[in-house]
């Protein structure tokens, strides 16, 4: 069933009679078992939108349905909603507080009122899922490396068994190795747990090869909502929004301009190389 967003708007009131419209009539659906990239530059409204999805912020207009029910309806259990729509904030390592990693990951399940045994089981499963074995369980979260802290924090949300997992710029501030590790981990989680993942980012290069749907936000509006290759066809428009298509697309576009009949709808280096090799013909085969 998933989430259904019906014509929502949101206006921030910032003090001296200044109003900022952060979201402007957004409608979309976030179905089950889907990998979605939510892209937009700073201030485009993407962080506001994700905080709507688990009920942390209430839209000033419109409604949000989760599995068919209005999340701001009378008597709706929003605490349970937050377990089902998990949200991992930017720099999530800043939320760690317990004495050891395992207890920190158990914080979410405990808030759900589960038995101690069940909390422990979920926490250790989640930690294994993010690649943190038993040797980490009793460590202080403050002694972990940057990448490990972030994985522990993700496990903390995972332990609530969300149906939809939203990650707000999970690779911010990480080095290329940390970034690849986290992104690899997320796509593995997607495959194993068959949940919906919403990956918030401002880098097309990061999300392009993982996601099967891209939502682009600009000035509080949802501009595109389509499969990656369709969205990247608008790379000129993306640039006016301070975004860009993956670098490899620009390379292929340029080669095509120069007269090489290459395929411009590629998303990674491997398929780009395939396409170039194909149009080089026998001339390209150094060995022949």
């Amino acid at each position: 069933m998933g989430l259904k967003i019906e014509d929502i708007s949101f206006t921030y009131e910032t003090g001296t009679a200044m109003q900022v419209r952060a979201l402007n009539h957004i409608s979309c659906e976030i179905p089950d078992d889907r990998f979605i990239g939510l892209i937009g530059h700073t201030g485009s409204g993407k962080s506001t939108l994700v905080q709507m999805l688990n009920g942390l912020l209430k839209p000033t207009q419109g409604r949000i349905l989760f599995n068919g029910e209005d999340i701001h309806g009378d008597g709706y259990d929003r605490k349970n909603l937050r377990a089902k729509v998990g949200l991992v904030f930017q720099y999530p390592e800043h939320q760690l507080f317990e004495a050891d990693v395992l207890s920190d990951v158990m914080f979410g399940p405990r808030n759900l009122g589960l038995s101690e045994e069940e909390c422990r089981k979920r926490a250790s499963e989640s930690l294994f899922m993010v690649g943190m074995g038993e040797r980490f369980f009793k460590k202080s979260p403050f002694d972990l490396s940057g990448g490990e802290k972030r994985r522990a924090a993700i496990a903390g949300v995972l332990a609530m068994h969300p149906q939809i997992l939203i990650l707000d710029e999970p690779t911010a501030g990480l080095d290329p190795r940390g970034r690849d590790e986290i992104l690899g981990l997320i796509s593995e989680m997607k495959k194993k747990l068959r949940m919906t993942i919403v990956l918030v980012s401002h880098s097309m290069d990061d999300v392009a090869r993982y996601v099967d749907q891209i939502m682009v936000m600009n000035n509080g509006k949802l501009v595109y909502n389509d499969v990656p290759s369709e969205v990247f066809r608008h790379h000129k428009e993306l640039e006016t929004m301070g975004l860009s298509a993956p670098q490899v697309i620009y390379i292929m576009e340029y080669l095509k301009e120069r007269g090489l009949p290459v395929n411009t709808e590629v998303l990674d280096i491997q398929s780009a190389a395939d396409s170039i090799m194909a149009c080089m013909g026998p001339a390209g085969r150094g060995r022949s």
Binding site: N54, F89, F107
Partner: protein, 275 residues
């Protein structure tokens, strides 16, 4: 929930009050606060209110902006009033069980409320029109005599100004951490007191960790920019008294004199000014 706090924040604009020497504003604010405890009758409070309104007008800070900062303290104000109303002995006006509302308590509570409100508005007016750096310089300059007693005047002033700078940053951080914990199903609005205290742990621990990290970073950044205490430091804008500052001193002392006079002659004032 934290974005409404304006106490201690600087409001950037051009106004006669902004351009005054910070030493005048600091002394003026202190004298104003003292005067609030000198006056004891309606006329005195009227004078204090008048003075405050004039100053707010002179500051060009929107009135609504200043009042918004009051909201955070409303709770404190209400508590103080309630305590005073019911716990002051005197002529009973109304009674419910063990609670006595007395005439003396009521007058005292109203006066206290006025004092506190004026006090907070007055001191936030100072911080709204004075940058922390100016405030630091003023404090350092006014407290200079204490240096003889080996009081670390410069260091105290510097710490205060840094604290003021980091209030909004830590408020924003607290808000973020709170949301992150709420996303993990934490509840911060529990009615149960013990639960409420316990629920603060997941907020306060990360907040302290972050504050320490920031303090560490800041110390290093300051060292990298050659900071080594007050010794040998110069100022971009050294404090110099101008004519308008002397006039301002005059106005403040004039107000002070009026406040004292009103107290001395309060008994001979006509009703209702003598209340």
């Amino acid at each position: 929930m934290f974005e409404n706090i304006t106490i201690g924040q600087y409001y950037q604009t051009r106004s006669p009050l902004h351009s005054l020497d910070p030493r005048v504003k600091l002394t003026g604010t202190l004298l104003y606060i003292i005067s609030l405890f000198i006056v004891n009758c309606a006329a005195g409070y009227l004078l204090a209110a008048l003075f405050l309104v004039c100053m707010i007008r002179l500051s060009h800070v929107p009135f609504r902006y200043i009042v918004r900062g009051m909201r955070a303290i409303l709770f404190l104000l209400a508590i103080t009033m309630l305590f005073n109303m019911f716990l002051t002995p005197g002529q009973v006006l109304w009674q419910a069980g063990p609670l006595h509302l007395t005439r003396e308590g009521l007058t005292f509570a109203v006066k206290m409320a006025f004092r506190l409100t004026f006090l907070i508005l007055g001191s936030s007016l100072m911080t709204l029109t004075t940058t922390p750096t100016q405030l630091t310089d003023a404090m350092e300059s006014l407290m200079r005599p204490l240096k003889v007693l080996h009081v670390p005047v410069h260091e105290i002033a510097m710490m205060m100004s840094i604290a003021l700078r980091f209030i909004p940053i830590l408020m924003e951080e607290a808000d973020k951490i709170m949301k992150a914990q709420m996303a993990r199903c934490a509840e911060f609005d529990s009615k149960h007191l013990m639960k409420k205290i316990k629920s603060m742990v997941p907020l306060l621990v990360p907040l302290f960790v972050s504050a320490f990290r920031r303090a560490n970073d800041l110390a290093m950044a300051m060292e990298a920019r050659c900071y080594r205490g007050g010794e040998g430091r110069t100022r971009m804008n050294p404090l110099i008294y101008r004519t308008r500052d002397w006039i301002a001193y005059g106005v403040v002392f004039g107000f002070m004199a009026a406040a004292i006079a009103l107290r001395v002659f309060s008994a001979s004032l006509p009703f209702p000014l003598n209340l």
